[in-house]
């Protein structure tokens, strides 16, 4: 606690009006609490947790941000994912890597030297991936002559996706320089390549591609701040 006070600095501003008459000057002491600036690195722990569920295969996402001012952070995510979309008539697996780059704005006014955030952010996302149609059944709606399930897989490589993303989240410093964060995002596809005579059902980083070319995502991250300086 003592160390805490040493580290803070005091700025006292005196206001004097005239040389002849001395007024009672009020020392308006504004204490500036410094917080750490630096590179924060972490991982998305929701992906390993979701891997335990049936609907998700595997994924790894490394998150990082760099504080550029009191309120603004430059942020990026880098990841790799494999996901199987099991639909009524098709089963397909998407596999690939993605990167997201953007900014976070912290709208939360911290107490003292606390370092928590309620942030909104914007990202540009890019993914390169492949999609394999594992199996499918022609949709005939006819019980008399049912279609067979075709299980010959076909893979289309070199698919890409570009999207923009808006996100909202919370971040809390649980120990010195260790943060946990939860955020949700809304994604709008800018451009995506579909396999020939098929459709991209899932793009890594974008998640499920909805009919309107939008998507949703959430992140639960744990990260460590490498402090460069205090400001």
């Amino acid at each position: 606690m003592f160390k805490f006070f040493i580290k803070t600095c005091f700025l006292v501003v005196f206001v004097s009006t005239s040389a002849q008459q001395r007024n009672d000057s009020i020392p308006s002491d504004s204490i500036v609490y410094k917080t750490n600036y630096g590179l924060r690195l972490g991982i998305d722990i929701s992906k390993p947790i979701r891997s335990l569920l049936q609907d998700y295969n595997s994924g790894l996402e490394i998150v990082g941000d760099y504080r550029i001012s009191k309120k603004w952070y430059a942020a990026a995510e880098l990841g790799n994912e494999k996901f199987t979309s099991n639909e009524d008539f098709t089963n397909s697996t998407s596999k690939g890597s993605y990167i997201k780059i953007g900014l976070n704005y912290n709208s939360y006014n911290n107490w003292l030297d606390m370092n928590n955030e309620i942030f909104i952010g914007f990202r540009y996302g890019f993914a390169t991936f492949e999609q394999t149609l594992n199996s499918y059944q022609i949709n005939t709606s006819n019980p008399l002559l049912p279609a067979q399930i075709n299980t010959t897989p076909s893979t289309e490589n070199g698919l890409t996706a570009h999207w923009s993303e808006l996100l909202v989240g919370f971040r809390a410093e649980i120990y010195t320089n260790i943060f946990i964060s939860f955020s949700g995002s809304y994604k709008i596809m800018v451009s995506i390549t579909d396999p020939v005579n098929f459709k991209t059902h899932y793009a890594p980083g974008f998640n499920r591609v909805y009919t309107s070319n939008t998507g949703f995502g959430f992140n639960y991250t744990i990260s460590y701040l490498i402090p460069f300086r205090k400001k």
């Binding site: 059944q137 022609i138 949709n139 008399l144 009919t211 995502g217 959430f218």
Partner: protein, 157 residues
């Protein structure tokens, strides 16, 4: 208040991401539509009495009905299907040969089949079916069956 709105919008995002946004409403694999015409006056439709349609060893699609048009499925696992068309005790056999093209429709509908170079051949016995064309020939080829917007085949009897 600001925090409150942020929290609400986050919850809204979570809820909306769980919605199923797709139900299969697009047309899927088309059936073949057959219309029955009067062989002596080829521009008039003519209902078939006691019409029974079935595929060998399978349940009947129509049994003892009186209709001037029928909808019959084609087999997407084969390039041929043989139908028994009977009117009362008169039986005619229709052999339908085709090529299958698989076309992706949507996430919820999956793939549909469309049928190209469809050749329909009626057996020569002419028990009740007299012809498949306006010149009353026993065979006809249709370039494609890709929707159900109109009749594909005319049967004159």
């Amino acid at each position: 208040m600001k925090k409150y709105y942020l929290f609400l919008s986050l919850i809204a995002l979570l809820i909306s991401s769980c919605e199923k946004d797709d139900f299969c409403i697009e047309p899927i694999t088309p059936n073949m539509i057959v219309r029955f015409y009067n062989a002596t006056n080829i521009s008039d439709t003519k209902a078939v009495n006691d019409l029974t349609i079935n595929i060998s060893n399978l349940d009947s699609i129509y049994t003892n009905v009186s209709l001037d048009s029928v909808v019959i499925p084609l087999d997407v696992t084969n390039n041929q299907i043989i139908y028994n068309f009977s009117s009362g005790s008169n039986l005619d056999i229709l052999t339908i040969d085709y090529e299958i093209e698989e076309v992706f429709v949507s996430r919820s509908c999956g793939f549909k089949a469309i049928f190209n170079n469809v050749t329909i051949t009626s057996d020569v016995s002419n028990d009740w079916i007299i012809g498949l064309t306006e010149t009353l020939e026993n065979t006809i080829t249709i370039p494609t069956i890709n929707d159900e917007s109109a009749a594909h085949v005319q049967i004159f009897h």
